[in-house]
């Protein structure tokens, strides 16, 4: 078998980068434009990143779940790439929410971290999806990898409702839901609008990142595929005829 000449085209699309930049800028301007909170002062501006980051992590993990289910149904590796890309972005957003939360916690609660159901469960969510990404590195066979991670991708999503409702179930330090709850919303309109803008911008950013990441994932898979059809040693050639009677 002669090694085949194969090349991979370079990714060229730039618009996702532009979109991400614009969305980031919009979030920044909006959070600076709104007045400081009555109680929390300037600190409250953290919220416009902390909260959308957490929500977009939720969205990303739901997309991972849906794409994983689609993979299990259709056995199409494209769905696997979507699931993985979304999980990776979700991990970034979760990390952002945790990091900002910790920065926020130090001045308000006096500690970086504490025993709190939401904090703990958010951390578990973070680690479970980090584990999802680590798991993908343990196998090189694309289909086996896709199957395993799809199973995890579907099941891990139960984390999301757990994190969301944890503040209701264990009444502890963290803020209970102010927006995503059955009762009417009681929040300053300007803050609400700013939060809305931030959430929309984050969503746009998520979509743009998804496009870029999926493109990259496709190229990675192509490279893996090429490596796997490349020539490798024959297993049976490791075995030779025994050398009888050495020296004796």
């Amino acid at each position: 078998m002669t090694p085949r000449e194969q090349t991979i085209e370079r990714p060229t699309s730039v618009w996702p980068w532009i979109t991400m930049g614009v969305a980031g800028t919009v979030t920044f301007i909006a959070s600076m434009a709104v007045g400081p909170d009555a109680v929390q002062g300037q600190l409250s501006r953290i919220m416009y990143v902390h909260v959308p980051a957490a929500w977009l992590a939720y969205l990303a993990f739901f997309v991972t779940m849906a794409a994983s289910a689609m993979y299990l149904w259709r056995k199409d590796l494209a769905w696997d790439r979507r699931a993985a890309s979304s999980a990776e972005i979700g991990v970034v957003f979760t990390g952002l929410a945790i990091g900002l939360g910790m920065i926020w916690a130090k001045p308000t609660w006096g500690v970086w971290w504490t025993w709190d159901a939401r904090l703990t469960l958010t951390a578990i969510m973070f680690f479970v999806y980090l584990g999802y990404l680590a798991l993908r590195r343990t196998t090189t066979d694309l289909n086996a990898r896709a199957k395993r991670s799809a199973i995890l991708g579907v099941l891990a999503v139960v984390q999301v409702p757990l994190v969301h409702f944890s503040v209701v179930w264990w009444r502890t330090l963290h803020q209970p839901p102010t927006l995503l709850k059955p009762e009417p919303i009681d929040m300053d309109t300007s803050m609400l609008v700013t939060l809305g803008i931030a959430v929309v911008s984050f969503t746009v950013m998520y979509v743009a990142m998804m496009f870029k990441r999926i493109e990259l994932a496709r190229l990675e898979d192509e490279i893996t595929e090429m490596q796997q059809t490349a020539d490798v040693p024959i297993a049976g050639e490791a075995v030779t005829a025994p050398a009888l009677e050495r020296g004796a």
């Binding site: 078998m1 796997q228 059809t229 020539d231 490798v232 040693p233 024959i234 297993a235 049976g236 075995v239």
Partner: protein
């Protein structure tokens, strides 16, 4: 009269595991009535070829068709119960008696446990039916594997070193099972290092060397 479709056809099949290639570009057709002997050195890939034919081994390239079903598609599940595979290592549950092992197998095929009992008697193990599998000698366990074949009467036999560990009487049993399957229009593949015995049993033989069929 139309020609019979082949029992199995491999077309350009290769198998990889880790960073080695086990099988390369295997083309092989097995027709009804064939008893194919497969020879080759240790580690050449004989067991792997049997597992490919049993639809148990994922392949890297090529197409595998077994009993009319594409082995990479879901169709393989419908033909599997008609395949009889005996590997190097007995597949019995050690804590269960031989009768319980065979009974489990029979019932999984929708058959009665009495079928299992008579199969055990046919391989000469009636007296040991209530002995736990892990308290049976190695040859007795191999015999019990052949009883499994008698229970399900598969049309496609895949036997990995069928004569090893069996005493003279039991060896004849293997030959009888192969003959019966082949005579009824099935096919058998026999992997072995005992060329003399398999040559007398097989309708044709192939040699596998470093993952390539010769």
């Amino acid at each position: 009269m139309i020609e019979n479709p082949p029992v199995a056809r491999l077309d350009g099949v290769s198998v990889r595991a880790g960073n080695v290639q086990i099988l390369r570009d295997i083309d092989l057709t097995i027709d009804p009535g064939d008893a194919l002997g497969v020879f080759g050195a240790n580690g050449a890939g004989k067991t792997t070829i049997l597992r490919v034919l049993a639809t148990l081994q994922p392949t890297a390239t090529g197409s595998v068709e077994v009993l009319g079903a594409d082995a990479t598609a879901d169709e393989r599940f419908t033909v599997r119960p008609r395949i009889g595979y005996i590997g190097h290592v007995p597949a019995l549950y050690p804590e269960l008696t031989l009768a319980e092992n065979l009974g489990f197998f029979a019932r999984s095929r929708g058959l009665d446990e009495s079928v299992a009992a008579s199969a055990l008697a046919d391989v000469g193990l009636a007296g040991a039916a209530d002995r736990r599998a892990d308290r049976c000698s190695h040859g007795m366990q191999r015999r019990a594997e052949f009883a499994r074949i008698l229970v399900s009467s598969p049309v496609f036999l895949l036997l990995d070193e069928p004569h090893s560990a069996l005493d003279a009487d039991a060896v004849d049993l293997v030959d009888a099972i192969v003959h019966r399957t082949v005579d009824q229009g099935g096919a058998a593949v026999l992997v072995s290092h005992d060329r003399a015995r398999v040559r007398s049993l097989a309708t044709r033989t192939v040699e596998i060397e470093g993952g390539i069929l010769r």
